[in-house]
């Protein structure tokens, strides 16, 4: 994995926090002084349908925010898996939330990592966050950013939101660490 330069698509249904996970990644990239872009599919799709964003992180200037093929795709549900499977770069990987996707995979030239995020989330302090767990898994897998950068961003954000939301900071951090540990214990990709 070339960690100088990475393109990621995060996709799920509305409410799963796919867009927010992308924003967290970008903020953390800024913390580390990297170039980054975030481009959402916006509009009608924001209401219940598939929601996704394209994230670029690079040591160099990023000309195009639009991604042809991503190094990694996080698919938080089955529709996202179906929609973005063909958008993974050859040799890239797809993290699939296997709690919400049971459809078969179709490619031999990419790696699939199936993690039942929603089922695993039951073990954590509630509410737990599937999008943040997936982010932890992505970072553990790629090393594109430091996990501390994400935590720094979360802490910074929690200062700017309502007390109710800010109170969820520990849950977010727990979800993130859990995502990391799940990926660590993941068998070699198949």
């Amino acid at each position: 994995m070339n960690i100088k330069d990475m393109s990621i698509i995060i996709s799920g249904f509305g409410g799963q926090g796919a867009l927010f996970a992308g924003i967290l990644l970008c903020h953390a990239a800024v913390v580390e002084g990297k170039h980054t872009t975030w481009f959402p599919a916006y509009g009608a799709e924001m209401r219940g349908g598939a929601v996704n964003c394209a994230v670029n992180i690079s040591d160099d200037e990023i000309p195009s925010p639009v991604i042809d093929e991503a190094d990694a795709v996080i698919a938080l549900n089955d529709a996202s898996q179906a929609k973005f499977e063909h958008k993974v770069k050859k040799g890239g990987f797809m993290i699939i939330n296997s709690s919400l996707s049971h459809i078969p995979t179709t490619r031999k030239d990419i790696n699939y990592i199936r993690i039942p995020f929603n089922d695993l989330a039951q073990k954590l302090t509630q509410p737990a966050f599937v999008n943040v767990m997936a982010l932890g898994a992505l970072i553990e897998k790629t090393g594109i950013l430091k996990i501390e950068s994400i935590i720094e961003v979360m802490k910074d954000m929690s200062k700017k939101v309502s007390a109710k939301k800010a109170a969820l900071l520990p849950n977010n951090i727990e979800s993130l660490h859990f995502g990391v540990s799940v990926m660590k214990n993941q068998p070699a990709a198949v």
Partner: protein
């Protein structure tokens, strides 16, 4: 000042605030509603004016009111909303009223869709309003440039007493990337020589766009066109990227300009001499600069998210100096680096075979 991660629409709004925009008048429309939301959240607490107008007709005419007092004011909208403003933009050019209009293009024609597009090049540049007039049009390709050009838009509007449009698209409006705001870098001209503030110890002034006496309108238009000529002389800007040895030059504006840059990089990696010519000011269009570029290259490929609108200005500037090809998608179809790369490979293989190189 450190870089911050910021959404294009919000960057434009904050830049306008930094530029000293005292009034925002607007009407919501996707994909630019965040501009109005940002202004609604911030302007009142700064003691400035925010109004959600009853229509785009109303908002642009409120900008006119503010402009006649020499006050920095702005409106923003998208495609069909900008269509409603055309009468007023023509009137502003005629009456020489400054004002900033942000146009974040979506798919068209008609209500179209809310996806990114560049179908409003003609709308911005070739009118829709009546008569001989020109709107200064600035075209940002990154969030940083959106900030810098928002600053410039306010400055040029006052400097030339003309409407200035920031022509962005849904990609730039909705995307986030790190950018630095810095301070508003311009010294603005004194408006007290012309602005309306009551005829106090001076003759009464008027700022109107009806000029009935014989010859008056022609004389006025001639004078205003001298101003446009000055704008063309002094304000034309473009970005040239790897043009020096380019055999194939891509032309593109706005977000497509940066996507094309990615394609240039890919082509260069494969040893193809490809460059990019990206107009930053669309009026004034960098006509002479593109003409010079055309003389030193074998072919131009114009890329747009429309059916070929800037293409007319590109052809006009190139004026037969080299062949001009076009590749575009429309109404929400995006151009990606790979798509552009394919087109580059197709055209590049034809270069040097003179029989293929017809003009246009």
């Amino acid at each position: 000042m450190a870089k911050v991660l910021v959404k294009g629409n919000e960057a434009i709004a904050q830049a306008a605030i930094n530029a000293g925009c005292q009034c925002y008048f607007g009407y919501p429309i996707t994909p630019q509603s965040e501009i109005g939301e940002y202004m609604g959240a911030h302007l009142p607490e700064l003691g400035r004016t925010f109004i959600t107008a009853e229509s785009e007709l109303a908002s642009i005419n409120m900008v006119i009111g503010a402009g006649t007092t020499g006050t920095k004011a702005m409106t923003s909208s998208s495609s069909c909303g900008i269509a409603l403003m055309q009468e007023a933009i023509s009137a502003m050019c005629c009456a020489e009223v400054p004002g900033v209009i942000v146009s974040v293009m979506r798919g068209g024609p008609g209500l179209g869709n809310i996806a990114p597009a560049q179908g409003d090049y003609f709308q911005a540049l070739k009118g829709g309003g009546n008569g001989d007039y020109k709107t200064v049009v600035l075209s940002p390709s990154t969030v940083q440039e959106a900030i810098d050009l928002t600053y410039r838009a306010f400055h040029l509007a006052l400097k030339y007493r003309n409407p200035v449009m920031l022509l962005a698209d849904g990609i730039l409006g909705q995307m986030m990337e790190p950018a630095e705001f810095g301070e508003y870098p311009y010294d603005d001209p004194d408006v007290s020589t012309w602005a309306l503030d009551g005829a106090n110890n001076r003759p009464a002034r008027n700022i109107v766009s009806l000029h009935m006496p014989e010859g008056a309108m022609e004389a006025l238009t001639n004078r205003i066109f001298e101003k446009y000529e000055k704008i063309a002389q002094e304000e034309t800007t473009f970005e040239g990227y790897k043009l020096e040895d380019a055999k194939l030059v891509l032309t593109a504006f706005g977000t497509v300009g940066r996507i094309a840059k990615a394609a240039v990089n890919k082509a260069r990696e494969k040893g193809m001499k490809v460059g990019l010519f990206r107009p930053v000011t669309l009026f004034p269009f960098p006509e002479k600069q593109l003409q010079e570029t055309a003389k030193n290259t074998d072919m131009i490929l114009d890329l747009e998210l429309n059916k070929g609108q800037m293409l007319l200005d590109v052809r006009s500037a190139v004026f037969g100096a080299c062949p001009v090809e076009f590749f575009g998608r429309t109404a929400g179809g995006l151009l990606t680096p790979d798509m552009i790369m394919k087109k580059i490979e197709e055209l590049y293989s034809k270069l040097g075979t003179k029989t293929e190189a017809g003009v246009n």
